[in-house]
Symmetry: C2
Subunit: 306 residues, 2 copies
Amino acid sequence: MQVAVLAGGVGGARLCHGLYRLQPEGLSLVVNTGDDFRLHGLAISPDLDTVLYTLAEWANPVQGWGLRDETWNCAQQLTQLGGESWFRLGDRDLATHLFRTHQLDQGLSLTRVMQQLAARAGLPTDLLWPMCDGQVRTKLRLSEGWVDFQDYFVKRQHTDRVLQCRYEGADQIPPTEGVVTALLAADRIVLAPSNPYLSLLPILSLQGMAALWPQLRARKVAVSPMIGTRAVKGPLASLLDSLGHPVSSLGIAQLLRDWIDVLIIDSGDTHLQPQIEALGLQVGLTPTLMKDTEDRERLARVTLDV
Amino acid sequence: MQVAVLAGGVGGARLCHGLYRLQPEGLSLVVNTGDDFRLHGLAISPDLDTVLYTLAEWANPVQGWGLRDETWNCAQQLTQLGGESWFRLGDRDLATHLFRTHQLDQGLSLTRVMQQLAARAGLPTDLLWPMCDGQVRTKLRLSEGWVDFQDYFVKRQHTDRVLQCRYEGADQIPPTEGVVTALLAADRIVLAPSNPYLSLLPILSLQGMAALWPQLRARKVAVSPMIGTRAVKGPLASLLDSLGHPVSSLGIAQLLRDWIDVLIIDSGDTHLQPQIEALGLQVGLTPTLMKDTEDRERLARVTLDV
């Protein structure tokens, strides 16, 4: 079965890992780049790297992002030199950013750079796809105005109330040819349990995506990142609340209803099934929390079998 | 006394440190940038950093360059990712390069960037002067043709025979205004015990330097980096030999005779005094090996008193 996944963030990376362990061939991971930014001149792609590190089994197992056995000597010295210190770059992680920045500055596409990084990580080169090679930037409106994603997420530690999201540039930048090909070829499209506002909608907002979507023959299955009224990680509950959706998998269903056939929700949320079905979606019920590799594989299996 | 120093490399940095300890005010260190290069997109200034780290007392005391308590995790990871690994960047050292590269890419001059780094290192901001803000590149002709300095020095570990040196761009790039001002104001100009071919002549080859030199009122004193027939560090002996100069302080005297009034040579080299004086130079005799901070201060004192 040809499978394409839309993903971003730690939860998304974990499901990608489960799918990769089930079927390393015929898998295309389309990853959000709306959070990408430059720091000290370095091109940083947080979601791509989280997926890369997770699949290479290089990721820090506790925090889910960054590299295991990481050290922070460069960041510490940079602080002493008066560099920006709100986003701490690990010493090993820096190698990825240096490699990427140098290749991008020499004119290679992000797609091509990630293929090289994937190869070096022992992964197939047709696995990891940046959603686009242009610059889409997720912006959030807080009470004091629009800010960049990293400003909201890291610098302010996502404590502000978000009043609006937009994906700057998305209406003018199409998905890459590789992404379109993967979506057209897919028998199954999986929307990973990633924050819809911050990871999935940036991908779905790309130029031409709304027109492409109905042409795709794949069955489209999303895994809700909500368990009860809580997100496994990050500010999703607060975003659902401030942006006017129910703080539960029902909110996720409302957000994604035009894009999916099936929503997989946590088995503790059975009570939401009738309301989600009323939106025209099929519901899958299964434990959705991924604590270990077995959980990842089991949930991945459900997304393929449902 | 206003003192200007021309320097590059570890020996130069050590004498600069001695001078700085004697008189932190009224001191201008003009540093070679002919070895500067880009690696992984990062702007690296080896001689400036060696002087910065040595004066800040951050330098690795054994190797003389780089930072103390350095780690190499980024370099190790970069090798794994397939990046160039012939020049290993320490994790802490990387912070300097990231800081500099980012500031340069935003349009600041190297002079201005080094002022900021000096300030962060607790040094005066009018102390450390890149010889120029343009791009002069030391090139060496080996049997197979011209190569970049770092190619010769690090990648090939300076084992090749050098047939010729040139300082690409030097004839079109003047010293900075700060350098010219410091030289004009100086009562004493010290040419540090640095490799003349690789550190001093790049500075002296800058556009307008030959015309400026006779206008300078300062007494000009060089310290020879040769002790007997050996250089304290690096490939100087081999360069003197292949480029047709005596492999001793006499060779240094021949190279620098048009630029200095006094050459300080090691007290073990008394026998060279008549030949050096025959070139029209005054000779100073003193132990020139700098093993510790006291040696640095003592030698610095000689350069001021001679």
